[in-house]
């Protein structure tokens, strides 16, 4: 399972990620991304993974990371 992790100390609210992942992210009043499901690190469905990778690549503050967890939550791959 892939999650999108947002590093809040780095994020500068520049809005590129919400443009690329409107299905997953909305912006708050100040342009900072908010996960639509309310979780701090939203789950990325497989169909959105390419766009999630684009958001990670384009984020000007390098604030985004994809983390991949194994199916069994007790065995993280990294």
């Amino acid at each position: 399972m892939t999650r999108l992790h947002i590093d809040w100390t780095a994020c500068d609210g520049r809005g590129l990620c919400a443009e690329l992942l409107p299905e997953l992210l909305a912006e708050d009043d100040w342009g900072y991304p908010m996960a639509r499901d309310g979780s701090p690190s939203p789950t990325v469905p497989p169909a959105l993974e390419p766009n999630a990778q684009r958001a990670v690549d384009r984020c000007p503050a390098l604030a985004l990371h994809l983390t991949r967890e194994a199916e069994r939550p007790s065995a993280p791959t990294r």
């Binding site: 609210g13 520049r14 590129l16 684009r54 958001a55 384009r58 503050a61 390098l62």
Partner: protein, 195 residues
């Protein structure tokens, strides 16, 4: 045939300067609330990146064609080592310096996620040295210096970058001009340092 190389070198050099100007202007404008041409922000970011890569292609063509040009008499180390050339060493050296800076900026940008935001940003600011150096090199070296068309192209490039700087300095430049400065709790500062 040898003249063809010479024309090609000049042409590719001018194209590289124009592309570099577009890259710098887009970089300066990247933080704006209103994006260039109404494009989405990520598209402007991609345009900045891809125009930079294209500029590198033209820069390589420019340098390689001069390596084979019988008049320029460029030696291999003139490509990387500035100010030691046979022919107008200072003006040519500016070109070499610009090339080195450009390679540094692009390579660190492609490895951005590897080297981290701070190191990347430090190198990226060399763009403000790279672009004027390239501009001066174009004006001073080679057989087109002083020609009206090269001056015209160069002055348009200057106007574009100055306009981008002026725009950036306007008070409402950013997306949320009234947003408070981003503050990071002291507890988290060490994290921020390593980023």
């Amino acid at each position: 045939m040898t003249d063809a190389l010479w024309y090609f070198a000049r042409g590719s050099g001018v194209v590289a300067l124009v592309l570099l100007t577009v890259v710098v202007a887009l970089g300066i404008g990247a933080r704006s609330g209103r994006t260039a041409f109404g494009l989405p922000r990520f598209a402007v970011s991609l345009l900045h990146r891809n125009a930079a890569l294209l500029a590198v292609v033209f820069l390589v063509l420019h340098v390689v064609s001069l390596l084979f040009d019988p008049y320029a008499q460029l030696r291999l180390f003139d490509v990387v080592l500035p100010f030691v050339g046979n022919y107008r060493p200072v003006w040519q050296g500016l070109g070499t310096l610009g090339f080195d800076l450009m390679v540094a900026i692009v390579v660190t940008s492609l490895l951005r996620h590897r080297i981290g935001a701070r190191a990347w940003r430090a190198v990226h600011w060399l763009a403000y040295l790279c672009w004027p150096v390239a501009l001066l090199h174009g004006l001073g070296t080679g057989s087109d210096n002083g020609t009206a068309w090269l001056w015209t192209v160069s002055m348009i490039c200057v106007a574009v970058v100055l306009a981008a700087v002026a725009w950036r300095l306007t008070p409402n430049f950013t997306r949320f001009p009234h947003r408070a400065e981003r503050k990071v709790a002291p507890r988290l500062r060490p994290l921020e340092e390593v980023r």
